[in-house]
Amino acid sequence: MLNTLWLIPILPFAGFLLNGLFGKRLGKGFVTAVALLASLGAAVAGTIAVVQYHAAYPTGGLHLNLVYNWIASGSIGADISFQLDPLSVVMLMVVTWVGFLIHLYSVGYMAHEDGYGRYFAYLNLFLAEMLVLILGSSYLLMFVGWEGVGLCSYLLIGFYYQTDYAPAAGKKAFIVNRIGDFGFLVAMFLMFAYFGSVDFAKVSSIAAAGGVEHWLLTAICLLLFLGAVGKSAQIPLYVWLPDAMAGPTPVSALIHAATMVTAGVYMVVRSNALFRLAPGAMMVVALIGALTALFAATIGIRQWDIKKVLAYSTVSQLGFMFIGVGVGAFTAGIFHLITHAFFKACLFLGSGSVIHAMSGEQDMRKMGGLKSKIPITYWTFAIATYAIAGFPPFAGFFSKDEILASALNNPYFPKPFSWLIWSLGTVAAFCTAYYMYRLVYLTFFGNFRGTHEQEHHLHESPASMTIPLIILAALSAVGGALLGWPHHHFLAAWLKPIFPEIGGAPEAQYEISPNIEYALMLVSSAIAVIGWWIARTRFRDRGLEADDQFARNMPAVARGMENKWYVDEAYGATIVRPLEGLSQFLWRGIDALIDGTLAIVGYIVAAIGDLLRFFQTGNVRNYALMFFLGVIVFIWVLA
């Protein structure tokens, strides 16, 4: 398997081709079998590869599998080449297995939808591209997967293509991501120009060897981070992700929560050798992460669409991951990426199960009291909520606590800056607990507020949907303790080899005195409990009343939150519409001006022509004279 790593992405790609070409004719049974086998095949093949990798590289080296030389032109060269190292292993396991669970879930969720074959074809393609992204051994191959998952995201957000909103949301996602990709591209141009390569190993070793000028490293890091900001939905490019909820819910779980949107975090960790040498860039990462974490959380507080709450929560949690990698706690960032994949996939799939039960309804104002009607969904959802809110000993507690503790104690930044990041993160964590329990109480407690017909149809989802929920809930419960128990940190030990030694840069190690460590854990736990308690008193028994009261007391704030602080509107007014106006001006103004000018030139030429007609006498002797004069002039010019 180790020398055929390319098989791992090829399997789902074959599934994409089969279902894309023949899915419609061969029916649902065929589509289901192909899609599930393809994704399971990738997961099994990946696991075998990981086992073999661990046997071959017990200390965690870099395994390369060159497939062929892809591009060679002038000084630019790149291979199709896949790699396994501790980081790729982690991503591979998360992506393939969570991916498979969501494929399984989709079988039940999409059973009655049109375009079943199309859906699974796209989903398999997504898996293939995501695997290229995490297994590719160079920035360029990563970029192939990076844009490929973007394409799948575009296609799947716009899955319900006969609506107006879904294709528009897909287009927005693609375009906003392209802004980020522009940064990624320019970063690669810089690497080619100054390092002569975009291979991870080569770039890392050049940077780690020292001597690379500071501005260059900072520029590359910031440009790469621009790519991450697009893909991982951070300020100011986060606006596409909430709209992306227009896609089917399992897509939101897989692409817009568990895997694709975390690619930016993966990229920063992959580039840790560069970032550690560019503390200025790291400050930007941490600050953007912290601001996004808090900003998105405030919007999540006052959304009524169950998926929108989860979408803003995803933006916010991604912000936490960037706090982690930004303060140099790369392991903590990846740790949160993993636990988030568990609990957020569980939450999204759970919301899908709720929506399924509610006959397509997504508005929490129409829900309530679902706890007893869909118990498996409720319990799994509750466990995942404990995890995201940061209750010990659920998964999110360990990862989030580690991020916040590292933010406060990082060796890179001045103290006040560390405090700022920590405070923003802590407030965001509080908001997280609050809006998540608001969601739980509005959805599962109180009285049912929907129509009679909806109430009549309420039902628990089929096993293909509940089994993934149960597995993910179990992982959300124990995954954190298993992977990252403080001081017995499996993940930290596992990932250690991916951080090359760098002369002159601080080690990514954090020495915290035990007292502070316990105090911070206590703060984290307290935050979660307080958030939960406030939500409980406001929403458990009184339903929507508390929200109405809030709107009455602070109308401006409530309206701002509800309307996502008018960011979309601001972008429209300051960027989109001026650009459109400019384009119209170029077309109707400049193009017409050019045409007009050339027409005038044309008239002048025609007028000269009229003048010259004077010489066209039809007299051969005159022509001969002109010819003779012409030749003399010509020779004179030449000589």
Binding site: L66, Y68, N69, W70, I71, A72, S73, G74, S75, I76, G77, D79, L140, F143, V144, E147, G148, L151, G158, Y161, Q162, T163, D164, P167, A168, K171, F174, I175, R178, I179, F182, L185, V186, M188, F189, L190, F192, A193, Y194, F195, G196, I206, A209, G210, G211, V212, E213, L216, E580, L582, S583, L586, W587, I590, D591, I594, L598, G602, F634, L638
Partner: protein, 537 residues
């Protein structure tokens, strides 16, 4: 002596002559024969590919006969890494045109087929001619059939568009003719030999001011053809009025005669002026990239949208050429082919729906993915190729152009790279407007799905998009020696040396890993880490 170039060149002409004897009414037989002839030409051009030696830099498969000996004009042909793929693009797109217009041309089918066959021969002639005057004859000869195609089979405003097309292009090329004659006389003045053979004219010493004048005479002709901002305004009109086949050939091949001209004549004949004025051309190219993309975005007419997108895409090609390094020029040549495939496919697709709905206005569409799912798939693939999605051809070309140009012109390249964002904006808008959303117009509910002939025309284009995207080296390695040789000429000049030194200054960011600066502009030494598997470079 190998006559494969002449065979490829004259096959369509012979077919056109035979077609003269077909009765006007036998439409199917005429179209069938035309298709067959163009396919035979394509097969012949595969013979060129087969006979092409990869490691050779200069012209290959050459033929040379005296044509007008007293003036030193020869019938001289040859092919190298710069022209090879453009010849194949021409011979590929002509059968595609015949296939796609199988059911759409009812007016004068015989003249239509003959016009395209003559056009094909003329375009092949442009790419294989190695005598300046022979080139000029073919260059001008392409105008006539295209003028007729637009003027006879075009849309409502076809006469205006045809004349505008004709006047623009001929205005440029007449100046070039003067330049050609001057060049030949200058060579005559030096050596006493009157010749128009390109290889002999290379290295003609020109007075600096003369070189500058000639540079602009040639550059103007090619810039109009490309078209380079601000000389592009003929293109949208010509495309909008041209029939589908005309648009495919116009965008697919004819625009490349401009970029090809830069590479074949402007760079090697006037290297000093090239190095000196590269900045001007790059500025215009970059403006064109952004300008074309922005204007494309606000077009209500989808054919105009694709036409303006060509202005943007060809801007990339010109940027790559005048960035004057190995990567950017190889990328530029590849992008010429890519643009022929993707824009050819886009125009074909636009023609498919125009044929069914008789409107080009975006506002008249919406929701067609429901009624034409197979067609939608093809259209989206063509769009993705054009937008530069990795895995397809467009990405390779754009990436090489930008990554290469960045080494010599970093700031201009960054501006150009925003074209990548803008392309997504206007192309996704096009797709959304045509295919997605609810069907709001009654006429869109029962649109006929794509027909077999259209599928057969599109499939080879899609196959090539994937092939170039996955295995670009197959295409790139045939260009390398010719591009290297071309660059040696330019880099030998004083201005070229200054340019390389400029790159050296820019590359001071790295300490020990600092590679020799001039290496940036040369092909790399093979990386010993990489086993060269399966004969792939």
């Amino acid at each position: 002596m190998n006559y494969i170039l002449s065979i490829t060149l004259w096959l369509p002409v012979a077919a056109a002559v035979i077609l003269l004897f077909f009765p006007k009414t036998a439409a199917s037989a005429i179209k069938g024969f035309g298709l067959l002839a163009s396919l035979a030409t394509f097969v012949a051009s595969l013979g060129i590919l087969n006979g092409f030696h990869e490691g050779v830099a200069g012209l290959q498969l050459t033929e040379s006969l005296a044509w007008i000996p007293q003036w030193g004009i020869r019938y001289a042909l040859g092919v190298d890494g710069i022209s090879l793929w453009l010849i194949l693009l021409t011979t590929l797109l002509t059968p595609v045109v015949f296939l796609s217009s199988w059911n759409t041309i009812h007016k004068h089918p015989k003249e239509y087929v003959i016009a395209f066959l003559i056009m094909e021969a003329a375009m092949i002639g442009v790419f294989v001619a190695s005598d300046l005057l022979l080139f000029y004859v073919f260059f001008e000869l392409t105008l006539l059939p295209m003028y007729l195609v637009i003027g006879v089979w075009g849309g409502a405003n076809r006469i205006y568009a045809a004349i505008k097309f004709f006047l623009f292009t001929i205005a440029g090329s007449l100046l070039m003719l003067l330049g050609i004659i001057y060049l030949a006389f200058a060579h005559f003045h030096d050596t006493g030999v009157l010749t128009f053979t390109i290889t002999e004219l290379y290295g003609t010493t020109l007075a600096p001011h003369a070189q500058v004048l000639l540079f602009f005479a040639f550059a103007l002709a090619f810039a109009i053809k490309v078209p380079l901002f601000p000389l592009h305004t003929w293109l949208p009109d010509a495309h909008v009025e041209a029939p589908t086949g005309g648009s495919i050939i116009l965008a697919g091949v004819m625009l490349k005669m401009g970029t090809y001209g830069f590479l074949r004549f402007v760079l090697p004949f006037f290297p000093d002026a090239t190095a000196k004025y590269a900045g001007l051309l790059i500025a215009l190219a970059v403006i064109g990239i952004v300008y074309g993309a922005l204007v494309a975005w606000v077009q209500p007419d989808m054919k105009k949208l694709v036409a303006y997108s060509s202005v943007s895409h060809l801007g990339f090609c010109v940027l790559g050429i005048f960035a004057l390094n190995q990567t950017s020029i190889e990328g530029s040549i590849l992008q010429m082919v890519n643009h022929g495939l993707s824009t050819g496919a886009l125009f074909l697709c636009v023609g498919v729906i125009y044929e069914r709905r008789h409107t080009r206005l975006l506002a008249d569409y919406g929701g067609l993915a429901k009624t034409m799912p197979v067609f939608a798939t093809f259209f989206i693939i063509a769009m993705l190729s054009s937008v530069g999605l990795p895995g397809l051809n467009g990405f390779i070309g754009e990436f090489l152009i930008l990554a290469g140009s960045f080494q010599t012109w970093p700031r201009a390249t960054i501006v150009a790279a925003t074209g990548v964002i803008l392309a997504a904006i206007y192309l996704l808008w096009l797709i959304q407007r045509v295919f997605f959303g609810p069907i709001t117009k009654e006429e869109n509910k029962n649109v006929r799905e794509i027909a077999w002939n259209e599928v057969v025309a599109l499939v080879p284009l899609v196959v090539l998009m994937v092939w170039i995207g996955v295995r670009p080296n197959v295409f790139l390695r045939k260009m390398t020696p010719s591009v290297q040789q071309l660059l040696q000429i330019v880099h030998k000049t004083d201005a070229g040396k200054a340019m390389i030194a400029g790159v050296g200054r820019r590359v001071s960011g790295v300490g020990d890993q600092n590679r020799p600066h001039e290496a940036m502009l040369r092909p790399p030494t093979p990386d010993p880490r990489l086993p060269l598997s399966g004969g792939v470079r």
